[in-house]
């Protein structure tokens, strides 16, 4: 079980988080239909670092983007996403 450093809460057990999807699968608003389906159904799926979307579902509920090595589980970077919030 990984230890994930939530940008809001600090280091917490993986059990508090849910993996949601990879960043390359996000269909940004305004994407044309063909582009949207390309994003939805085609993945880079690298053996190595990838940008993943996680959520601190059982903690602060915030969404995170995590750059994680998919072989070693090493987390290279993690950042919060969402509306502007007070510190």
């Amino acid at each position: 079980m990984m230890l994930i450093t939530c940008p809001h809460c600090g280091p917490r057990a993986q059990a508090e988080f849910t993996y949601e999807r990879t960043v390359d699968s996000v269909v940004q608003p305004g994407t044309d239909p063909a582009g949207a389906m390309e994003r939805l159904f085609t993945r880079a799926n690298p053996r190595g670092l990838d940008d993943e979307i996680w959520r601190h579902t059982f903690g602060c509920r915030a969404w995170l983007v995590m750059t994680r090595h998919r072989v070693t589980h090493a987390i290279e970077a993690i950042r919060a996403v969402g509306p502007e919030a007070l510190p």
């Binding site: 057990a13 949601e20 949207a36 939805l40 915030a62």
Partner: protein, 923 residues
Amino acid sequence: MSGPQRAGEPGTIRFTFDGKPLLARRGDTLAAALLANGIGLVARSFKYHRPRGIMAAGVEEPNALVTVGTGGRSEPNTRATDLFVYEGMVARSQNRWPNLSFDVGSILGLAAKALPAGFYYKTFFGSAKRWMFYEWFIRRAAGLGDAPNAADPDRFAQRAGFCDVLVVGAGPAGLAAALAAAEAGERVTLVEQDRVLAPSLVRDPQELDPAWAEATAAQISALGGQILLRTTAAGYWDDNLITLSQRLAEPGQQPPNGAAQRLWHVRAKRVVLATGALERPLAFAHNDRPGVMLSQAVRTYVRRFGVVPGQRVIIATNNDDAYLTAAAMRDAGAEVVAVLDTRPAPAGATSGFTVHNEAMPLATTGARHHLREVSARVGGKIVRWQADLLAMSGGFTPVVHLHMQAGGAALDWDDASQSFLPGAARQNVTSIGAAAAADPIGPTPPPENSGKAFIDFQNDVSLGDVDLAWAEGYRSVEHLKRYTTLAMATDQGKTSNMAALGRLAEKQGVAIPDAGLTTFRPPYTPVTMGLLAGRSERDAGAHLRRLALYDVHQAKAPTWQPLGYWKRPRAYPAGTETLAQAALREARSVRTAVGMTDVSTLAKFEVSGPDAAALLELICATTVAKLAVGRGRYTFMLREDGLVFDDGTVWRLGEDRYLLTSSTGGADRMATHISYVRQFLYPQLKVSAVNVQEHYAGIAVAGPHAKTVLAALIGEEVPRHMSTVPAAIGGVPVLVLAASYSGERAFEIYVEASKAEPVWSACEAEVTAHGGCLYGMEAMEFLRIEKGHLVVGGEIDGRLTPHDLALGGMLNKAGGYVGAEGLTRPALTQTGRKQLVGLEALDGTIPEGSMLITAPGQPAQGHVTAAGLRVLDGGSIALGQLNDGFARHGELLIASSPTRGLIARVRVVAPHFYDTGGERYRD
């Protein structure tokens, strides 16, 4: 020749072994107690049923596996060396019939040549018939203990732990490391698998006074450190997470506080492994008899337990440590017949023992509980001695399991000790003490007869089997392991790996480190299934989700229906009614008078803010912004791929405030979806979307008298269909939504869950007064099928578009909702897609979940999603999905469920069987 015995008091703790009453002293392991009672034969080996005794004094024991405890508490395959005797303990030997001394299976030993390495593979790759024949026989002949059939009566706790430093092993090195960390102000946890601190100091008090361990532990505790005895670090996982298995009671023992074991998840900033080293056996013919033991184990039984495992002992060694055993045995009054040292000259002080250099045991013969004779090659000649015990030492293997489990870790080969030592590791872990360094050893001559020279005692693998595997072409260590079953089962090769690896390297003609290693997998020692399951063992791991009105329903003894983690009333049978009778009565009450039901589990979201409608028009595929305040409408939601995944209703409560309801089963998924759209895709929206699923309890009142009932309850004009008003019932504020899922005029009353009871009671009184009753999910299902309302998980199964469900006309023409792009995919508008239809039976009853076919033997063209009946008139009806179903109304099909042998002829119709014009909603 007398075998093992103990001087002085036999002890006061009563236990039985194979039914025989015996006595143990406090602190005895079962192994110690058995030896103290003169019992050397304790087990039959896995494959050949060879008589086996106690080889070790710790968790590495390969032979002495027993079943301990009775009923659901019984635990098979427990090491007698890792089991402390308690009053009333019941232990049994395994893998023998009818008993240990006379075991029919041991005939296999005589036929050992018929069961060589790879036996299973060879048989398996033979004809299937042969395998079928052998399997019955193998499953009974080879094996370990039996898993209990009864449920375990005890609890298994799970706990989190956090520390700066986790020290594994409370030997001298571990205690010193833990004390140093505690003195530096660090948060320390020290774990020890044994019941006592520093058991090696009891064995070898010349190194340090055992009292030092107690004093050090007291200091650690005083500094706030945590010391857990009888606790094994079983697994090392990502980010310095270590799982510990803690025994709160001995195996098979009734635990004092209900919890038998505790699984710890400890997150440590730093881990110190003071896991010590395990002694290796020597390989020679018949080295597996009762009476052949590891040297340090012999010393442990003498010094720690006061048990002398033999009176005439031969010591066989390739290192200095075994001389301490010779001294311990002599001090205990036993005769040290000879020390056989493989080395050309003794390395240390020999203290007057008869030492033979360049000597190696050849073979043993034995009696039931001890040895008779040991033969050895000394220099060029063979010598024999009468001896009842052989203490062997083939050197030491540092325990590097956790180091290797830590991942990204390396091992360094140390030639002098012929052992792997922990190298670099990616995680923050260090090894110390005997786990990090081993003493040099001399040569280990190969046995002259390798067929009976066992290296893996637990799996009956001899050096001869390794040679055979090699001869048959198995080259890599991984293949060797799987082919011979070497290093499998409960000991995972703790005492056998190095001998096998040495032999393989020799065959490969490479150095041992180049021969490769098998993976070190958790757990280090076996853990019971109950420990891993925790409390989940009883209820599949999930708490029941209770309705706010759970007790109110329970008082009426309903038939409960599990729905995800929830339980909802399925029906309220009266008297001797069956479920079907009760459900039909309840449904008819709704059609003819009035009924009420609990709809609290529906997903509910309160959405507020200037962008509330904008967010809802992303989530919902229908228009929302055009709703007037106080009005609501049906809606449905699409995934990004354009397929419908949920439906519900949306209500405008105020200028900038909406309530969205959706399905119970999809509630968590919908919460995540809304959060993703709001937080990730559209963080700029000025909106708050709050999950109020549990804030509101919901009561639906439906039927021709529903208006009258509601008017009486709220004392004012009831809202029109698809309108909402705030009101009060008995002084409690409620929100009334005029919505129907039954086909009748109906209202949903939402009330803050903590205040739901008086509102429910008031409703029930009024409903009863109007000739109505409570209804459950079964009646609700009848009603909604007849009316053609959809259910998520049934008709809405995540594979249909709004068009397939005849909802296309409701789509927001302006687009912009999630899934709009996906919906443009050409495949979603091609012919041949499944479409929603109604089905009515021409004969019989339409089977739930049946497939729709044109003729027997033809492929399925669709399936029944929900089967019900006409509530008032009877007659079997159903909803279904059918290829091009919209164009096939009137067609005759067969609804077939071949697995149940059920069949009905059906006609395809529109999916509405009741009040198709919606007259009953009009005021």
